[in-house]
């Protein structure tokens, strides 16, 4: 039965699980998406992010739990409102353009049939088509067929088709993964613009952490069918709460050791102790310290700090990536090109830079 929603809530996922046969694709997932919020669901392949999206779209039903959309229950283990009756738009990984329809037909189709806009007059419809085409910059391509478009143009048509009926929720399934790198950067801006103009809630599934960090208001990190952490991008990056988030998003070195009086003593060097730069409780309990590659400073060995040896050097243009062996641990370190250079075999000292921003500035939204 539908629950009375709190004002501002668009989607509520309550205790949802989904099994494929005996394989649990989603396990007891809770998620809340506000009106107009841009959510990125981030995780490696097979983590359940596409399953979550398909449940939100209504292509299938959950094994347990329920989904409330716009204050009405749309899915439970017993009953599922099909996608054509939900107020949604969707953008597919493979574009999913219909080869026998022109660009204008693609936009007209949801305007005719979508539950949100079925009562539009003819005039209003053609106005809306032009408006949508202008929004994605395809004004002069209205009569083209998909076979006559480039990859980027195809994805714009797919976007236009999804936003044309002004749905409350836009679902995007890795929409840029079929595009090349430069186009991807361009489309990120395009999506941000569309988000500003349509005011729809967006659920954007991706496995690319830089994409998620760049465009979302909030990131949902998933792994093995469970949600690991939900937070704004900067918090996800600088304050990971689990080892998975620390390594998947921040590429952290998770250092073993123990916590003593609010400071961390690494196992490889019991003489040093590191300050708490905002490490989550989870790590403190397990005696771990997540260190991002750019948080480390390397210097020539003087014998006072933790000792290591360079084993690989990779030049990356804007920075240099070192692999450092320190005792039993292997660290990844990113240094700016302006800092002193090291060669393979050099003995170095490892120390921590201070936090880039004080904690109070980070915890904002």
């Amino acid at each position: 039965m539908g629950q009375k929603g709190v004002e501002g809530k668009m989607i509520e996922v309550i205790g949802v699980s989904k099994d494929y046969g005996s394989f649990p694709a989603l396990q007891n997932v809770d998620l809340e998406i506000k009106k107009g919020e841009f959510i990125a669901v981030l995780g490696p392949s097979g983590c359940g992010k596409t399953t979550l999206l398909k449940l939100l779209a209504g292509f299938m039903g959950p094994t347990a739990g329920s989904i409330v959309m716009n204050d009405s229950m749309v899915a439970s283990a017993k009953r599922v409102v099909p996608p054509e009756k939900r107020n949604i738009g969707m953008v597919f990984q493979s574009f999913a353009l219909w080869p026998h329809m022109t660009v204008a037909d693609h936009i007209k189709f949801p305007l005719r049939h979508h539950p949100n806009s079925r009562k539009d007059s003819k005039r209003a419809m053609s106005l809306r088509i032009n408006e949508t085409l202008a929004l994605v910059g395809l004004d002069s391509f209205a009569e083209r067929f998909p076979a006559e478009l480039s990859g980027g143009q195809k994805q714009r048509v797919a976007l236009a088709r999804a936003i044309a009926p002004l749905p409350n929720v836009l679902l995007m399934d890795e929409p840029f993964s079929a595009l090349d790198v430069e186009l991807r950067m361009e489309m990120r801006k395009e999506i941000q613009k569309l988000h500003r103009e349509t005011q729809a809630s967006i659920v954007f599934v991706t496995h690319d952490q830089s994409e998620a960090l760049a465009i979302a208001d909030k990131i949902v990190v998933m792994n093995k069918g469970k949600i690991e952490q939900i937070a704004p991008p900067e918090l996800i990056y600088t304050r990971p709460e689990t080892e998975f988030v620390a390594t998947f998003v921040g590429k952290c070195n998770v250092v073993k050791g123990h916590w003593q009086d609010g400071r961390f003593v690494p196992a490889i060097d019991s003489k040093s102790s590191w300050p708490d730069l905002g490490v989550a409780e989870h790590f403190k309990k397990k005696g771990l310290y997540p260190v991002r590659p750019e948080q480390v400073r390397l210097s020539l060995s003087t014998g006072t700090e933790t000792q290591g040896r360079i084993t690989y050097v990779q030049y990356q243009g804007h920075e240099i990536h070192y692999t450092v062996e320190a005792g039993v641990e292997t660290w990844t370190v990113h240094e700016p090109i302006s800092s002193p250079r090291f060669q393979v075999g050099d003995a170095v000292e490892i120390s921590l830079k201070s936090a880039p921003k004080p904690e109070k500035d980070l915890v904002f939204s």
Partner: protein, 580 residues
């Protein structure tokens, strides 16, 4: 708001309607499976049952009797020799052509492919007729041989060798069809890896390419084997005059002989024929079991072997000579000989006339009536198969569970069974569908409608299913998230995309039903003759000139229809699907 509203409605009707729907879904499933069982499996079971029953009690009497006879063993031996020989011929030709077309750089592959398929679209009894004309006394082969020095004789087609040759030539396109894409899908890297490991081209072919192509070759071989076993037209046209029987013609003779035990004896022979077919299937399964199927990879149709220009020209010349000699020349010879005024007179200008055509289409009323019968049969069969086959293909595609898989297996049986056996099944099933009640289906045109629909349904299912597999699920999903409900989604998105594939299946069903001979030769009744039955009748009565005239018209019709379909397909691709 609309969403909320519809949700409210749904909630009002509540769980009761939902569970009702759920129950009725189960009910439909059960009902569907029951119908499939009644129409597709029960006839076969009744045939097997009848071979064991005499006057209401179980007996092996008929088996003992049939197996005691010398004629049975001669027939079985003929069948095995002919079927195995023609299968090897079909495999050799099919695999060779497939390999050359897939790998070697030669010109005109498309045209070559059309000629390879020609014996496949022309019914085998017409091909046989054409060959008998080609090799006949007034045919071109005899003319050429009489010019040559030495006393060369025209080979006699009315022999085991002749039957074997024509079966092989009629069915190698099937092997080609099954293997050419398997060859194309073998990654080029594997051959290159073999070459860098020090294998010569020949060794690589033997040790890498052929083992990987084995699943395709085995499937093609099985289909050729079953088709050779099933074929009735070729052994009936060539074997009957020479007193050579195979199982399919022997069963036919039993049934039309109308002895007191004719049906039971035919049932016993059918079970034996079915047994041989089963052995072939088991053999193929054993070959396939040992080979590991590689994951599907993109097919690569650019050539891998480049020959020197001279060698390439020689190869092209050889292939074209073979294709023209085996597929086109006999038809041309038949067309030409259909114009001579009487059987056996020399092919000279004075002897040419349209007299045979005049007889076939104006004097004799049967051919036109048969053409009209066959067209009606084909159209109705296509209509039934198109709807049922496509609906079932959709169910199979959407819910690929055990029930749809089992149903498809059952529906394959009528097509996989040799035609004579299937016809016999139909007689046993529909003479008295419920023991003691004869609704008068057998002996009228109705039994042909039922038989064709059940026999050819699986062809439409395969065609439509392939069409469904070829459209990305996201096409359907995009339509749904755009708000398209059931019928709109089908009319505007799915059907335009599915149309060419579904139509391809329908065309195959149409062609098969139009020119069908085996089943109708046992099930026809006065007034319901089919095209195949009329040509067979002419041939049996010795009116070769009439049968060639009628066949020539049919071949022209088929070729015209085929080219129209190809042109239409191209136009559809360009105009509707905007494919480049």
């Amino acid at each position: 708001m609309i969403v909320k509203h519809s949700m409210m409605e749904e909630r009002r009707t509540g769980p009761s309607s939902f569970s009702l729907f759920f129950h009725s879904k189960k009910l439909y499933k059960g009902l569907g499976l029951l119908l499939v069982f009644l129409f597709f499996l029960l006839p076969v079971l009744r045939l097997i049952w009848l071979s064991f029953v005499k006057e209401g009690s179980l007996t092996l009497h008929y088996y003992a009797e049939v197996l005691k006879e010398q004629a049975t063993w001669v027939t079985v031996q003929n069948t095995l020799v002919i079927v195995l020989g023609s299968t090897f011929l079909a495999l050799f030709l099919g695999v060779m052509f497939a390999w050359v077309v897939a790998y070697v750089h030669i010109r005109g592959k498309r045209a070559m492919q059309l000629f390879i398929f020609l014996p496949f679209v022309i019914p085998s009894y017409i091909t046989t007729l054409a060959w008998t004309q080609f090799f006949g006394g007034s045919g071109p082969v005899a003319a050429v041989l009489s010019w040559l020095p030495g006393d060369l004789q025209v080979p006699n087609l009315y022999s085991i060798g002749g039957i074997l040759l024509l079966l092989g030539l009629s069915h190698y396109p099937l092997v080609y069809l099954f293997t050419v894409n398997v060859f194309r899908k073998i990654p080029r890297d594997l051959e290159e890896a073999a070459a860098t490991s020090g294998l010569s081209k020949k060794q690589a072919l033997r040790k890498v390419v052929l083992p990987l192509a084995l699943p395709g070759i085995a499937s093609g071989g099985l289909i050729a084997f079953l088709s050779n076993l099933d074929n009735f037209g070729i052994p009936a046209f060539l074997g009957t005059p020479a007193n050579i029987r195979v199982l399919s013609t022997y069963i036919y003779e039993q049934v039309v002989g109308f002895g007191p035990e004719a049906f039971s004896r035919a049932a016993v022979l059918s079970v034996m024929l079915g047994g041989i077919a089963l052995m072939g299937t088991v053999l193929q399964w054993m070959i396939l079991r040992r080979s590991r199927v590689t994951e599907t990879v993109r097919s690569d149709s650019s050539p891998r072997i480049f020959l020197e220009p001279v060698k390439q020209k020689l190869l092209e010349g050889a292939l074209w000579t073979f294709l023209l000699m085996t597929s086109l020349m006999p038809l041309v010879a038949m067309g030409a000989l259909s114009l001579i005024s009487a059987y056996g007179v020399p092919f000279t200008f004075e002897n040419l006339s349209f007299k045979n055509y005049e007889h076939v289409f104006f004097t004799d009323s049967k051919p036109l009536a048969a053409l009209s019968n066959s067209l009606q049969l084909a159209l109705v069969t296509v209509a039934i198969c198109l709807v049922l086959g496509t609906v079932f293909a959709y169910l199979r595609f959407k819910s690929p569970g055990w029930s749809t898989r089992a149903a498809e297996l059952f529906m394959t049986i009528p097509y996989a069974l040799p035609g004579t056996v299937f016809a016999l099944c139909m007689i046993f099933m529909w003479m008295e569908p419920v023991p003691g009640w004869n609704p008068g289906i057998y002996g009228t045109v109705w039994i042909l409608f039922i038989s064709y629909a059940t026999r050819f349904l699986v062809l439409q299912i395969r065609g439509s299913y392939t069409a469904f597999l070829q459209i990305d699920p996201s096409m359907d999903e995009a339509a749904r998230t755009s708000g398209a409900r059931g019928w709109v989604k089908w009319r505007k998105i799915l059907l335009p995309l599915l149309f060419p594939g579904i139509l391809g299946g329908a065309l195959l069903v149409f062609l098969m039903a139009l020119t069908e001979l085996t089943v109708s030769s046992l099930l026809w009744s006065s007034g319901s003759e089919t095209v195949g039955v009329v040509i067979f009748g002419y041939e049996q009565a010795g009116y070769s000139t009439y049968s060639t005239a009628f066949s020539t018209v049919l071949v022209l019709g088929i070729l015209l229809g085929g080219s129209l379909f190809m042109i239409f397909g191209k136009l559809w691709d360009r105009k509707v699907l905007k494919a480049k």
